[in-house]
């Protein structure tokens, strides 16, 4: 029996948040569409990160209560090349992740995605990753947090990086390390959405090329998947998403009895207020599809 829950990452509101949306407005938006989960980026959405004031933490819990939202996943970074002259050490990386685990826990999250710096064009994570995670598994267990690296385009599921993550799960036997799937890997058609800051070539390489990972690959790793970021770029007036195959994705999740959160990550054009309307459309589409699929299974 699959139980899909719906949430929204504040990443969706990039550009809008802090300009035309306060944190409370964003939470009110999420509640208004009937979603129950809120995902944040620690380094993005926590004022005075990594040391928020107790007043802010009180406000955070007050708003969760007011809008009846539960914290889902907390995005963190392990910036392995912080300085020009040297890489981050495993010790430093371990301390960073521990700091974010504690902060995520303090804010009520149950899942954390550390984004680790890469060392190659095919996005191999910096070799410290394994030690940094392993040295934090006990803390994660103590705090009841699942650490889940993100499988993100242009890295597909059938890739040595993912193989290594799965080998790590099997070797350690830890319940506190799982995978996070970003649905951008299922992208079937090109997007013209502009990604601020990135060069044309980087965008070409990473975002615009549809990776089109087949559903069978998702099925293979689904037992290891603890969280899904529902990445998308554009949903039109007829609720058609031209890039992400939501029907296939939901069918796969339902059929394989996956339960957990689909957390919206809108990554289309950053025109003021567009994110709000696009997230609404995505949830309207996902609910409609889920109801249709329920009728056919």
């Amino acid at each position: 029996m699959s139980n899909l829950k719906y949430g929204v990452s504040l990443y969706s509101y990039t550009g809008d948040i802090n300009t035309v949306l306060t944190l409370e407005d964003a939470m009110a938006q999420i509640a208004d569409i009937g979603a129950t989960g809120i995902e944040i980026l620690g380094e993005g959405h926590v004022p005075n990160y990594p040391e928020p004031s107790t007043a802010w933490i009180d406000q955070w819990y007050g708003l969760l209560e007011k809008y009846q939202l539960e914290p889902t996943n907390y995005g963190s970074w392990i910036d392995s090349s912080m300085w020009r002259d040297r890489d981050l050490t495993a010790d430093e990386g371990t301390g960073m992740l521990a700091r974010d685990l504690r902060l995520a826990h303090r804010l009520g999250f149950t899942s954390i995605r550390p984004k680790i710096g890469v060392v190659s064009m095919d996005l191999r994570p910096h070799p410290i990753w394994e030690e940094v995670i392993e040295r934090n598994l006990d803390l994660a267990a103590e705090l009841d947090l699942i650490i889940c690296p993100e499988i993100h385009a242009p890295t597909p599921i059938k890739h040595p990086v993912v193989d290594e993550y799965i080998a790590f799960i099997e070797r350690t036997g830890s319940k506190n390390f799982r995978l996070l799937i970003d649905t951008g890997i299922f992208q079937k058609a090109i997007t013209t959405a502009k990604h601020d800051g990135l060069s044309e070539e980087a965008q070409e390489e990473g975002w615009r090329k549809p990776l089109a990972v087949p559903m069978s690959d998702l099925v293979d790793v689904l037992p290891y998947v603890s969280f899904i970021q529902a990445k998308f770029f554009d949903i039109d007036d007829d609720l058609v998403d031209g890039q992400i195959p939501w029907r296939e994705i939901l069918q796969t999740l339902k059929k394989n009895e996956w339960s957990g959160y689909l957390s919206s990550e809108y990554e289309g054009d950053r025109l003021p207020y567009r994110s709000i309307e696009q997230v609404r459309r995505q949830h309207a589409l996902l609910h409609r599809l889920e109801a249709e699929i329920a009728g056919t299974l």
Partner: protein, 134 residues
């Protein structure tokens, strides 16, 4: 409080005095990335005002109440540019800018270690007309 949508904020664009002298001008900038970053990941900002250019090595940065040269900022360890806080960049210019409307462009360079080194840094560009009052 909220920030203006444009990276270049109207508020905070002004000449800078040192004693009786006007020694430059400063611009308040909103963080262009989707997360805040540690100061060492900032690779500087190139500034163009009415066609006159200053490279990324020139402007001084004020973040969280502390002021850095870009060389110092690249080596810093405990200062951040947050999504909800402006960075103030100061460009030295004897006499400052004339009172009035100026065409200002910034090219902000940020490092993202999770993107291959070949594509670093990301450059965020913004251009608008803003007014110096004094």
């Amino acid at each position: 409080m909220v920030l203006e949508r444009e990276l270049i904020q109207s508020r905070g664009f002004r000449n800078v005095q040192e004693g009786a002298d006007t020694v430059g001008f400063e611009i308040a900038l909103r963080m262009p990335n989707y997360r805040g970053v540690w100061g060492s990941l900032i690779d500087g900002v190139a500034v163009t005002v009415d066609g006159q250019e200053w490279t990324r090595e020139v402007p001084r940065w004020t973040l969280q109440g502390r002021t850095f040269s870009i060389q110092e900022l690249r080596q810093s360890t405990n200062v951040r540019w947050q999504l909800d806080e402006v960075a103030t960049v100061m460009v030295p210019l004897a006499g400052g800018l004339a009172v009035g409307v100026h065409d200002v462009r910034v090219d902000i360079a940020l490092h993202a270690p999770y993107i291959p080194a070949e594509f670093q840094p990301s450059i965020f560009t913004s251009q608008r007309k803003v007014t110096v009052l004094a």
